[in-house]
Structures are given as structure tokens and as C-alpha cells.
Amino acid sequence: MDAERVLTGVPSAPYTGAVRIVMNGSPPGADYDEVAVVSARGTNGNATLAAVLGALQAEAPRLGCDAVIQVRYEPGGQVSSATGVAVRTRPAW
């Protein structure tokens, strides 16, 4: 697996809860702060939806994020990849 991120906002302390995956076109469901653009790609045995989205999902909590939104997945025979935006949901006061 190969995952990468480029910061577009400010990361915070690692997050330990569940990370939501929100596919592109779906509403994020809450107000949020953008932290990074993330991408992941898996080859051969890791070129699967579960492995690639799992890798994308694993990037978020390291940045203090609890969701990856605008997720796009590109399946392939020997390599599959995905991109998204790691965000931190704002608390609903």
C-alpha cells in the first residue's frame, strides 16, 4: 500500500475514534475543517476497494481527522487508487 497526504489545513492531535468515509457527491453530514488532501493506491493483492479505502481511512486519524470526504475510487486490474479530503468535524455545540 502507498498512501500520501498534502496538508491544506492545520492538523491536530491524533484521533482515536471511527473514521467516516464519504464518497464524492454525498453530503459530508456536518460542518468541518479541511486538513489535507489524501491519496492511496494498492497494487496486486492490495488493489482492492477494502485495502485502498482502508489505507485512505488510516491517514485521517494521524492528522486528527474523523472523516474523509469527497472520496473517489478508481479500480484497476493490478493497481487501484483513491483520493479524498481529510477533515475534522466541528463539534455541534
Partner: protein
Amino acid sequence: MQGICLLLLALSCAHRPVASSAYAVARAEPSSAGNVRISATRDPPGAEELGIVEAHGSATLEAVLSAFRQRVAGMGGDYGRLDVVATKNAVVQESRSYECGSNQTHDETRFVTRANPDGTFSTDTETVSVTTYVSQTCRETRDVEVVTLSVVGRAFRTAREGR
């Protein structure tokens, strides 16, 4: 398919040059030397939209976004709004040449001169096996699956310093 090696290889590490382009939708601005902030979720409030920018390549996210930033700065922008960040797979043919020589054995006839007991010389022929390496260049074509990462967005100018 004979003669063609149908290996599907994932060249996730084979980074190639990043290409980018831009299309201005406002009057030209001098290039920006400052940092270009990027966002994948929000337009900058009250900013002037300068143009459409794209960057793509079989490269890292960092490299493609760096090219995007440079294009935004080249239009005089200081804020790049990413509208699309996506990957796309394509199968391309790649060719390579490699050394495929081999050892080859052939018979050689040699003349051998010997001294006889009576002081004269006689010349005979003898056949010997000689092995030599014969160089050869082979060419291989294979199908390679490559991932192209592309970003499309807009360049904005938010700062109005010096005006």
C-alpha cells in the same frame, strides 16, 4: 500473444513528469511570488477568480499539487481551489531493450607445426571446439497499468497588497 510479454505491472513508483495548464478568465496578473494556499472544499470569500488550472501526471500527490500551485502562482493567484482530485488507470505499452546474447560453440581448424626427431618440421591440421559469447539485443513489449493523478481547479487572488 506471441512475442509480447503481457505482464500487467503496477508502476506505482514509476514517477513521470507532471504536466499542467491554465486558462485565464480574467485580465492577466503578474506572477505571485508568495505562498499559494490550496483548499479542496471552499472558495475564498471575496476573492477574484483568475482562471482554470489543471495538473496531471503519473506522479505523487505532492508533485501534482506542487505543479498546480505553480500554475496558480503563475496566473498571479495566491489561492488554489481544487474542484476535482482524481486518479485514472490506463494500460499503456512500454518497450525495453536488453542484452540477450549467449555462448555459441563452433569448430575451428587450426594449423599445428611440430618438430620431428630428424630436425624437420611438419604441419598438421586439427579441429577444436571454440565457445564465444555472441552479443544480441532483444526487445520486449509489455502492457503496463499506470495511474494518472489529476487535479482541476481554479486560481484566485485574495490579497490586494500594494494597490
